[in-house]
C-alpha cells in the first residue's frame, strides 16, 4: 500500500474537510486516518491516505489538489508516509 500524508493548514472556515475529502474521493483515494485541531483560529488537519486506488501519478494527484488550495486559500502538502515511518519507527 502506498500511503501518503496530506496536511492542510491555514485559517479556519466552513467546509474544509468536505472539500478536500470530495476531491480525494473523485480521484478514488481512500482516507485511512484523519486528525484535526484548531489552535487560535488556525486549522490543522492531517490525513493518511491510500494512493493505490488512484489511477494518477503522485505529481498528478498533487496537481489535482491545486484548485482546492486556491479555493480554500490553505496550504495543502502531500508527502509519502514512508519518511515518517523511517524516522520514527525501527
Amino acid at each position: 500500500m502506498t500511503k501518503a500524508l496530506i496536511s492542510v493548514t491555514g485559517l479556519d472556515s466552513t467546509g474544509i474537510i468536505a472539500k478536500v475529502a470530495t476531491k480525494l474521493s473523485e480521484m478514488n483515494i481512500n482516507i485511512l486516518d484523519i486528525s484535526q485541531t484548531i489552535l487560535d483560529g488556525y486549522f490543522t488537519m492531517m490525513m493518511v491516505v491510500d494512493l493505490d486506488g488512484a489511477h494518477l501519478r503522485f505529481e498528478e494527484i498533487d496537481r489535482e489538489l491545486q484548485p482546492v488550495r486556491d479555493e480554500l486559500k490553505m496550504t495543502i502538502h502531500m508527502q509519502r508516509m514512508d519518511i515518517f515511518d523511517a524516522m520514527h519507527r525501527i
Binding site: S7, V48, E59, I83, F84, A86, M87, R89
Partner: protein, 448 residues
C-alpha cells in the same frame, strides 16, 4: 500509527531546521572507456556518463517531491581519470564537464590521481593539467591522494601539490581562486565518498552505485537546545538519537533512488555538512555545547564527542555506511566557522587539531595569496601525517587568495560561501619540502 507529534517533528526538521539530503552521488566506473587516442576516449567517457546518469536528476527531483525532503545536490563521481587517460587528459576533462552539464548535475568528481606510493606517467600528466582544467571547466572537481596509512606519504606529490594549488589560484584569480575550491589533497582517500570536491569512484567499486550524503547540523543544534546545561552523557545521547533519525531518511532516499534508477545502493555517508546559511552550522553545535566560539579551548573535545555520537547514532540506521562519515568543518561554508575566524577565535593550528578527531581536514580555508608553495606543501604534509598515523582520512582544501592578505575576505558564492583570509605561520620550510622522497608507512602496533 505515527503520532501527530512525530509528524510535526519531521516537518519542523525539514522546514525550520534545514534538514536535507545533501547529495545523491552516482558513482560510475569508466575503466572500460580507456583508449590510447585521447579524443576517442573522451567521446566514450561522455557517452557512458550521459547514458548511465540520464535519469539521475529527474529521479532525484521526483523523490524530493514525493517524500517532501529537499535533495540539494545531484552529482556524479567517476573512476580517477589518471587510470583511464593513456595520453593527454585535457580532452577527457572537457568531455566530463560537458557530460555533467548535459545530465544536469551540479558537480562531477574524479579528475583524480591516486599516488600515495608513487606516480604513474598518467598521474604526472594529470597533475600538470589540473590548473588549466580547473580554470577552463565549471563542474569538474579534482582530488589527489598523496598518502595512506599503508604506504606512507609521497613527499614528491606533496611538494608538487603545493605548486599546483598556487598555480590554480593564479589561473582562477579573477574568481578569488575558485579553482582551488574544486581541488582536494587527500590522505587515505575513500572510494565511495559522495561529497565534493573529493568524490571519485574507486577501483573497488561496482560498475555504478548510488551513494547518499545526509546533512542536518541545524537539527542537531536545535535538539541540543533542549538539554542546556546537562552533562555530556545527555549531550551524546541526544546527538545519537538525532543522527539516527536523519540517517534513516538518508537510507530511505538511497534505497528509493537505487530502486527507481535500477542502480545498486552503495552507502550512506553519515555526515553533518554545513552550508553558509544561518541554522545550518556545525560550529554552532559546538557553541551550543557551551563554547563562545568554535576554536575556544574545549573545541577539540566537543568535536570529538559530536563526531563519534553522529556515527554511533547513524550506524544502526543504515545497512551500509561509508564515505567520509562524520562532521565536516569547512570554514567558508559554515557561518559559525566564519564568525569564529573573523573574531580571531579560530586559527589554522586549532583547525589542524580539530581535524584529528573529525571527518576530514583543513577545508575551504582562504590563506594569503603570498603564501609560498612550500608552506602549502608543509600544511599538506602535516595533515597527511595526521591521517597516516591515525588511520583516518584527512584532506587539505586551501585557497590562496591572490592579492589578498590576512583579514581580507574572499567570496565564492552559493554553497561555497565566503571566508576571511586566515594568517599562516610564515617560518620557512623549503629545505624540508625540497627533500622529496617518501615518508615510510608507520608501525601498526604499539599504538600510543
Amino acid at each position: 500509527m505515527i503520532e501527530t507529534g512525530e509528524i510535526l517533528q519531521t516537518m519542523r526538521m525539514i522546514q525550520e531546521e534545514n534538514f536535507d539530503i545533501r547529495t545523491i552521488t552516482l558513482g560510475i566506473n569508466l575503466l572500460d572507456c580507456s583508449e590510447p587516442e585521447a579524443d576517442r576516449c573522451a567521446d566514450r567517457v561522455y557517452d557512458k556518463i550521459c547514458y548511465t546518469a540520464r535519469n539521475l536528476v529527474h529521479t532525484g527531483e521526483e523523490i524530493e517531491k514525493e517524500f517532501g525532503i529537499p535533495i540539494v545536490n545531484k552529482r556524479i563521481s567517476v573512476t580517477p581519470i589518471s587510470m583511464i587517460a593513456q595520453g593527454d587528459p585535457v580532452p577527457i576533462a572537457r568531455a566530463l564537464d560537458r557530460a555533467a552539464r548535459e545530465v544536469g548535475v551540479n558537480f562531477l568528481g574524479g579528475y583524480s590521481a591516486l599516488m600515495h606510493k608513487g606516480a604513474t606517467n598518467a598521474d604526472e600528466r594529470l597533475l600538470a593539467s589540473i590548473p588549466q582544467v580547473l580554470s577552463e571547466t565549471n563542474l569538474l572537481c579534482s582530488s589527489v591522494n598523496v598518502a595512506s596509512t599503508r604506504a606512507g606519504i609521497n613527499m614528491n606529490a606533496v611538494r608538487e601539490m603545493g605548486q599546483i594549488i598556487k598555480k590554480t589560484a593564479a589561473m582562477t584569480a579573477s574568481s578569488d581562486g575558485l579553482g582551488c575550491a574544486k581541488l582536494v589533497v587527500f590522505a587515505n582517500a575513500v572510494e565511495d565518498n559522495p561529497f565534493m570536491a573529493g568524490a571519485f569512484c574507486g577501483v573497488g567499486e561496482p560498475e555504478c552505485a548510488i551513494n547518499v550524503g545526509v546533512s542536518g547540523p541545524g537539527v542537531v543544534k536545535v535538539a541540543l537546545e533542549s538539554v542546556k546545561g546537562q552533562p555530556f552523557d545527555v549531550v551524546a545521547e541526544t546527538i545519537k538519537r538525532t543522527a539516527f533519525k536523519i540517517t534513516r531518511v538518508g537510507q530511505l532516499v538511497a534505497r528509493e533512488a537505487s530502486r527507481r534508477l535500477n542502480i545498486p545502493f552503495g552507502i550512506v555517508d553519515l555526515s553533518l555538512a554545513p552550508t553558509p546559511a544561518r541554522g545550518d552550522s556545525v560550529a554552532h553545535i559546538l557553541t551550543e555545547m557551551g563554547l563562545e566560539y568554535a576554536g575556544a579551548p574545549g573545541t577539540t573535545a566537543a568535536l570529538a564527542l559530536l563526531n563519534d555520537a553522529v556515527k554511533k547514532g547513524g550506524i544502526m540506521a543504515s545497512n551500509h555506511v561509508g564515505g567520509l562519515s562524520g562532521a565536516f568543518i569547512p570554514v567558508s561554508e559554515d557561518i559559525g566557522m566564519i564568525e569564529a575566524a573573523a573574531a580571531g577565535a579560530l586559527s589554522l593550528e586549532k583547525l589542524e587539531a580539530m581535524t584529528c578527531v573529525c571527518s576530514v581536514g583543513l577545508d575551504m580555508i582562504a590563506i594569503p595569496g603570498e603564501t609560498p608553495a612550500e608552506t602549502i606543501s608543509g600544511i599538506i604534509a602535516d595533515e597527511a601525517a595526521i591521517g597516516m598515523i591515525n588511520n583516518k582520512t584527512t584532506a587539505v582544501r586551501v585557497i590562496p587568495a591572490v592579492g589578498k592578505k590576512a583579514g581580507d575576505t574572499v567570496e565564492f558564492g552559493g554553497l561555497l560561501g565566503h571566508a576571511p583570509v586566515m594568517p599562516v605561520n610564515s617560518f620557512r620550510n623549503e629545505a624540508f619540502i625540497n627533500r622529496g622522497g617518501r615518508i615510510p608507512a608507520p608501525l601498526h602496533s604499539m599504538r600510543n
